[in-house]
């Protein structure tokens, strides 16, 4: 991925890799991300972020959408969290774009 400057949040339009599938887990009653040989159990917000990784939304767009649903959370802090989460996902090869 290389260096992502602060501007990346307006440019990067992540898309969930075709090898990964977001699904509901009936056993633990929460979402998980499944991909070859592994699965990540997700917290409450991660699936909301991943559903917006469609190659259309920028990071700014994702944060705007989240801000409408999770009111009262500082937008800059939220952006930092989203960027951190998606950067980790990208390093694992779970995002394209």
């Amino acid at each position: 991925m290389g260096e992502r400057s602060a501007d990346a949040s307006a440019i990067w339009r992540p898309r969930l890799s075709p090898k990964a599938r977001l699904r509901w887990d009936e056993v633990e009653k929460r979402y998980m991300l499944v991909f070859p040989e592994a699965a990540l159990m997700l917290n409450e917000t991660a699936p909301e972020i991943l559903k917006l990784c469609d190659g259309e939304h920028t990071i700014e767009g994702i944060v705007d959408s989240l801000a409408q649903r999770f009111v009262g959370i500082d937008r800059e802090m939220m952006k930092e969290d989203v960027m951190g989460f998606l950067t980790r996902m990208k390093k694992r090869g779970l995002l394209e774009g």
Partner: protein, 373 residues
């Protein structure tokens, strides 16, 4: 104690296979196990597996593509929301089949390749297959599947790892598994011909580390060790019957590919009992769950919750006691067996025994060595 949640089902849907790989993980006596589960029986097992919490399904064999009902099995697995992976040698595939599997909901394909050197590749597989496999790798990508390339490493190809990595990148594989051969079944029969020397093995680690950094985010590189060269054993299968289950063609539910070799264990088949019941109550699956079965030096070892005493099959195969410490462990009183095997590997002799019916019949008639307990 309630049974743990399984995450992965390895479904060996057939032992039939056109390849004769020298390290095949199928049992040496596979020809004696007749009568594959029907389509309905497999589908019922998938439904029950999903109920138990299984997320990953590996359709493997033998060569799973030989089963005519593979599209039906994939369709059913998909309807159970299982992440479905086809593990194949590739030689029986074509574009039409791949498109059909895609339509049925297959998520991922794992293709085995033997080497970048054609002569060695075909020496290992026992049949002409090199060109076909490369053609199929490209088709898998063309059809739009994520691709894992799996290479079993051994003394004949371990020095070609840089070329293997380059080839995987060229084929745009998402994952490359550099799996050092595990010495069970056919691989154990061929161990003195296949095991790399310590120098070969130690050469590998820095190469893999460098490649991992280079391909981060584009191609995941997984490598497994030769446990003979470790000081401590591997946490085999993440613990006995803990997160993995293997169902063999006849329906018996095993904790791993090899557990059939251990005498005195009874494994139930999904032909007679629901998988949900077997997972919890099977004598064979419960035999080595938890820690009560352990002997010294495992029993008082702080590592026991990390490595679970290593591999039960290896303990039986090499130390003749399935409850013993895996002899790979440097603390095992039987560790000398491993030192001898390593010395043997330095020689690198040994004839090649191909996985085929004739050899299976010959090896099955060997008198069984008695267990020591």
């Amino acid at each position: 104690m309630p049974a743990p949640r399984p995450y992965t089902l390895v479904a060996e849907i057939t032992y039939r296979c056109p390849l004769k790989c020298l390290y095949c993980s199928n049992p040496v006596n596979y020809h004696e196990m007749r009568g594959e589960l029907s389509t309905e029986e497999w589908c019922r097992a998938f439904t029950d597996a999903a109920k138990l919490g299984v997320v990953q399904l590996h359709l493997t064999g033998g060569e799973p593509v030989v089963r005519k009902d593979l599209p039906d099995l994939i369709r059913h697995a998909h309807s159970c929301e299982l992440y479905t992976n086809l593990i194949t040698g590739g030689t029986l595939l074509d574009e039409e089949k791949l498109l059909l599997y895609k339509e049925c909901g297959l998520d991922h394909v794992q293709l085995s390749i033997q080497d970048t050197d054609r002569r060695t590749a075909e020496l290992i597989a026992g049949i002409r297959s090199y060109d076909k496999k490369l053609e199929i790798a490209r088709l898998i990508k063309k059809v739009g599947f994520p691709l894992t390339l799996n290479v079993c490493l051994h003394r004949l190809n371990i020095d070609h790892v840089p070329q293997l990595i380059a080839q995987a990148a060229e084929l745009k594989a998402q994952r490359l598994e550099l799996a050092n051969t595990a010495y069970y079944g056919w691989a154990l029969e061929n161990r003195s011909a296949l095991m790399p020397t310590r120098a070969q093995f130690e050469h590998l680690e820095p190469l893999v580390k460098e490649a991992r950094a280079r391909y981060e985010g584009t191609m995941e590189i997984i490598s497994t060790k030769v446990d003979y060269y470790s000081d401590y054993p591997k946490p085999c299968m993440g613990g006995w019957a803990k997160t993995y289950m293997v169902i063999i063609p006849t329906g018996e539910v095993l904790p791993c590919h090899a557990a059939h070799v251990i005498p005195g264990l009874h494994f139930d088949t999904v032909r007679n009992l629901p998988l949900t019941n077997i997972w919890e109550h099977s004598q064979g699956l419960n035999a080595f769950r938890g820690y009560d079965w352990m002997q010294e030096p495992c029993r008082s070892c702080p590592m026991k919750t990390t490595d679970f005493g290593g591999c039960r099959c290896q303990a039986y195969l090499l130390a003749k006691d399935a409850a013993a410490t895996d002899p790979v462990c440097s603390l095992s009183p039987q560790h000398g067996i491993i030192r001898e095997a390593i010395a043997e590997a330095e020689q690198g002799n040994g004839s090649l025994i191909y996985r085929d019916r004739k050899n299976s019949e010959r090896l099955s008639t060997r008198p069984l060595e008695p267990a020591s307990r």
